[in-house]
């Protein structure tokens, strides 16, 4: 572990070196806020999302430049170790930025059909939420970490309810707000125990203290761990803290739902990984079983609950709960053997699966946005006879669903297989088996949608396409299809990048 370092004064160049992407996006957010005040409503509506996309691209460039800046498992830390720069954070930031970019693209279509939504407000909130996610992935101190978490959460609460006249949106936002606040309280309570025992808020110093005090203060530290697990677990919708997810996912506008499902969830995992693996270090060996149990529960309940869903967004909400269970496995099995190569393996698994998840979820939401709008219903019946109306949409949706179900030559399959290898490597056979057994159960509901698309032409709400797929949604679908298949057939395209990383200092 990194030893505690002496206090250094902040200089702008020092901050810029470590936080350039975050600074760019934060400034962009404020800039968009001001921009909205000074230009006409029309211009603001038209330009704001593109400002966001442009800023994200610049930030992406800086993140990519930052890869490998810290060689050999080291890290670059900022002022008294509040914030760090390492490849772990960089990888997650790429996922957040791409996810937000897809969200903004999808939103352009959403704005056209919802003229009363305030576009500028929506766009900068989304940018701020992304900054929050990025802070979560690189925070090195409980306080910084908490600030990132709250930035992401508060922006999300507003975004879910952005359609003010939509009752379901309000309900979803309210549920998320209440659950989210309670979860935050739990997490903070847990952190307070950690601080109480160790006397520090810094993660690395905390790790040293935990290692020293483990024997003496074990009950308090375990309590702290469990409270934080509940708090963060609710944020990433682990069973049994997932109750908000279906309602919120259903009520939120489609782009925001996909943002919650991808970016928000990925940020939660980044946080969990860094906090638990770093702070608890070797002591994680005694704690992993809680994660394993949560992962098992999440996979089983998420998949079983999805079986009976009739609304496509609720179905995807439960499916996303189940996916969180799969994603938790790499972390959960680490306790059985946390040598560095095991941690590297687990990180590879999580990021690969998140990349696959990003592609398939964004693609699926792009298609479902169009299909449900055409059909005028969000029920699964909207997909009836889709193969006839639009073969491309049907084939694309098929690929996304096969990927979610974990069928071969899709990215989702390889992601699952990769996680599975990790679980077997640490001899967690039961969890590994559960991964594929619950996936087989999931076939039933994923294929239910396919069945509607290919086998149930009668009683389709629409028989003819009214409008073509908008270009922005089409672009997302194409990127999703190509990415899903490419990563499925040649996973090394991405694996080689991951293999070359020095994730973080241990």
């Amino acid at each position: 572990m990194i030893s505690a370092q002496t206090f250094t004064t902040l200089s702008f160049s020092g901050v810029w070196e470590v936080m350039a992407p975050e600074i760019i996006l934060a400034l962009l957010g404020f800039g968009m806020l001001l921009f909205d005040l000074f230009v006409s409503k029309e211009t603001s509506r038209r330009i704001s999302p593109w400002l966001g996309v442009a800023g994200l691209l610049v930030a992406l460039g800086f993140v990519i430049r930052n890869f490998g800046v810290v060689a050999d498992g080291g890290l670059k830390e900022l002022s008294n170790m509040l914030y760090v720069l390492d490849d772990f954070g960089n990888v997650f930031k790429v996922i957040f930025i791409l996810g937000t970019m897809f969200t903004l693209l999808m939103s352009i279509d959403f704005f056209r059909h919802n003229p009363r939504v305030k576009v500028a407000e929506y766009s900068y909130l989304l940018i701020f939420a992304t900054v929050g996610a990025m802070v979560m992935s690189s925070a090195y101190d409980l306080i910084t970490l908490f600030v990132g978490l709250e930035l992401l959460s508060i922006a999300s609460y507003v975004l879910i309810a952005i359609r003010r006249d939509n009752a379901k949106g309000g309900e979803g936002a309210m549920k998320y707000l209440i659950t989210g606040s309670i979860a935050t309280a739990f997490a903070l309570y847990g952190m307070s125990f950690l601080y109480g025992v160790t006397g520090v808020t810094n993660v690395a110093q905390g790790a040293q203290m935990i290692a020293q005090m483990w024997v003496e203060f074990k009950p308090l530290l375990v309590l702290s761990f469990l409270l934080m697990l509940i708090g963060f677990g609710a944020k990433i919708a682990l069973v049994p803290f997932h109750m908000w997810a279906p309602d919120t996912y259903e009520g939120a506008p489609n782009p925001i739902t996909s943002f919650l499902a991808v970016v928000s969830k990925a940020a939660g995992f980044a946080l969990l990984f860094r906090l638990f693996i770093w702070a608890f270090g070797r002591e994680f060996n005694e704690l992993y079983i809680y994660l394993a149990i949560l992962a098992a529960l999440t996979m089983v309940i998420g998949n079983i609950a999805a079986l009976v869903q009739k609304n496509i967004k609720r179905l995807l909400a439960y499916s996303s709960v189940a996916q969180a269970g799969y994603l938790l496995i790499p972390l959960a099995v680490l306790g059985n053997g946390n040598a560095q190569e095991n941690i590297w393996l687990a990180l590879g698994e999580i990021t690969f699966y998140l990349a696959a998840y990003l592609l398939m979820t964004m693609g699926a939401f792009a298609i479902l946005t169009h299909v449900t709008r055409e059909a005028g219903t969000e029920s699964l019946d909207a997909f009836r006879g889709l193969y006839k109306r639009s073969p491309f949409q049907a084939v694309a949706m098929t690929i996304f669903f096969l990927s979610m179900a974990g069928m071969p030559i899709t990215a989702g399959f390889f992601g699952k297989f990769y996680i599975f290898l990790g679980a077997i490597n640490t001899e967690m056979y039961w969890l590994a088996a559960l991964l594929f057994v619950t996936s087989a159960i999931a076939f039933y509901y994923y294929f239910g949608v396919l069945k509607a698309m290919y086998m149930k032409e009668d009683d389709a709400p629409v028989t003819e396409q009214k409008a073509a797929l908008p270009w922005s949604l089409g672009l997302i679908a194409w990127v999703g299809v190509i990415g899903t298949v490419a990563l499925g057939v040649f996973p090394n395209l991405f694996l080689n990048v991951l293999n070359g990383l020095n994730w973080f200092g241990l």
């Binding site: 190569e341 390889f414 077997i424 159960i441 996973p491 090394n492 293999n499």
Partner: protein
């Protein structure tokens, strides 16, 4: 050319499926012609492989090997290299030929498909690629990929072109076989990691794993581990092969599937589980089979007798044939449990013989259904008058199925029971009851179908068309060929069986 033969065999159908994708919709004959050409070329190439096959050699032939996926840190700090490894030996050669013959004939028998013809052939060709792939893949990852590739087409082939309960039955098939393959994967990866513990490097190549298991000291690969993995594998095989108590999906599937699909399901798909039994269970875990010999033999006898009893009360030919196939595959279990030369050989013979017979019987029943509109035994009667040729073939196939000397079923049963009587005389007596029961239910059904007075509505139905002679004659010829000259199959499989037998310890 020679080096790429297997790749060509496997991927020609896939290529044809892609080409059909660009054929204009509604052009039935073009899609069918492409499918016919591709499957014919594949079976032709399989024939060339057979013609050039070295019968004396023990190892894999026509091998092909390329690195495909490289995953770092999978086993300690070692990488897992997944290879595109193909090859055939005496064990897989008969399965490859079976796939080729049955798939070509099944495509030939698909001429009557008028509804969504293009998609039908696309799925059908994908299924064929998956089947070939299963039997030539040497890497377990690759095998699993092909196994899953068979599942999706089967789902659609039954779900779209099946009978009135098609949707439910397709889902049932999907979940059952999905679970089966999940357990197969668990067993595979478990084997790979244990082999890695013995050799120090991880590989998914089945030959490497088999060698590791054959040579490793019992301290590293413990008997308990072998037995545990074997039970997982056995569970998977029971599900895949539709053995009691996981059998209910098979009769439903055959009842709902179009007859050409039934041919390929009964003829080839249902033999994948048996292939896994020989290749993995017998080939890698022979000691565990010895350990659980009684359990396997009892399961075999239960399946032989139970399925035969159920077959007696079936009213539908297709369900009767499904139970008859289960009963026959029970003999495979019994033969394998004996773990001697005759038993294993008999099991293999029975697998191939049952594949040919199932394909022939389902083809004939399909042809009869096309003319009479029913497969209910009660709805038929006196068929020998209006369609003497089809009725004659049906009688021949039924006789082959019940084990008439001079046909493939007879020699298979003789060998299997010779093996099993040496090992478990009492159980084998009960198993032999199956032969008598088979004669009862098949002859009784034949008698009600072909003899007696011809009902009025069946009076004018036509007999076999020229094109229908091809599948019937080819399949029947092969059944008789194996029956009168079993050496043709024995020469192929004996070297592999000797390897297996030599590995059985004490």
């Amino acid at each position: 050319m020679m080096g790429n033969l297997l790749t060509l065999i496997v991927f020609l159908p896939l290529l044809a499926a892609l080409i059909i994708g660009f054929v204009p919709r509604g052009n039935h004959s073009q899609a069918r012609a492409i499918a016919l050409i591709a499957t014919f070329l594949s079976v032709l190439l399989a024939g060339i492989v057979y013609a050039n096959f070295d019968f004396g050699a023990k190892g894999m032939q026509f091998t092909q090997s390329a690195e495909w996926i490289n995953i770092a840190n999978v086993y300690q700090d070692k990488s897992l290299v997944i290879g595109y490894d193909l090859g055939v030996d005496g064990l897989s050669m008969p399965f490859v030929l079976l796939t080729g013959i049955v798939s070509f004939l099944a495509v030939l028998a698909s001429g009557k498909v008028q509804h969504r013809t293009k998609e039908y052939f696309i799925w059908f060709l994908l299924l064929i690629t998956g089947l070939y792939g299963c039997f030539v893949a040497l890497d377990l990852f690759l095998f699993f990929l092909f196994l899953e590739l068979t599942l999706i087409p089967m789902y659609f082939l039954i779900g779209i072109w099946g009978g009135e309960k098609k949707g439910r039955v397709a889902s049932k098939l999907l979940v059952y076989r999905g679970l089966g393959s999940a357990f197969i994967l668990v067993a595979f990866i478990g084997l790979a990691f244990k082999a890695a513990a013995a050799t120090g490097t991880i590989s998914l190549n089945m030959l490497t794993i088999a060698d590791a298991f054959a040579t490793a000291s019992p301290d590293i690969i413990t008997t308990a581990f072998k037995n545990g993995i074997f039970l997982v594998l056995l569970l998977a095989i029971l599900i895949e092969e539709a053995f009691f108590p996981f059998h209910t999906w098979l009769p439903d599937t055959h009842e709902q599937a179009p007859s050409a699909v039934s041919m390929i399901v009964g003829g080839v798909v249902m033999k994948i589980g048996a292939y896994v039994l020989f290749r993995i269970a017998v080939g890698i875990l022979p000691d565990s089979i010895k350990h659980y010999a009684i359990l396997i033999a009892v399961l075999g006898v239960i399946n032989i007798v139970y399925a035969a009893l159920i077959a007696m009360v079936q009213k539908d030919w297709r369900r009767l044939l499904a139970f008859s196939a289960i009963s026959h595959m029970g003999i495979v279990l019994l033969g394998v449990a004996a773990m001697n030369q005759a038993g294993i050989q008999g099991g293999l013979f029975m697998t191939i013989s049952s594949g040919l017979l199932s394909a022939l019987l389902f083809f004939l029943i399909g042809a009869i259904k096309e003319r009479t509109g029913t497969t209910m035994i009660a709805g038929l009667g006196g068929l020998s008058k209006p369609m003497p040729v089809l009725a004659g073939f049906l009688l021949a196939a039924a006789l082959g199925s019940l084990g008439l000397p001079g046909m493939s079923g007879f020699i298979s049963e003789i060998l299997a029971f010779m093996g099993s009587f040496a090992a478990f005389p009492v159980l084998s007596v009960f198993g032999a009851l199956g032969i008598i029961l088979a004669a009862v239910y098949l002859l009784w059904a034949m008698q009600r179908t072909t003899y007696g007075p011809t009902t009025a509505q069946l009076e004018g139905v036509s007999d076999a068309r020229a094109v229908e002679y091809v599948p019937a004659v080819v399949l029947l010829a092969l059944i008789i060929l194996i029956g009168v000259y079993p050496q043709i199959l024995a020469d192929l499989v004996n070297p592999s069986i000797q390897t297996f037998v030599s590995r059985i310890g004490g």
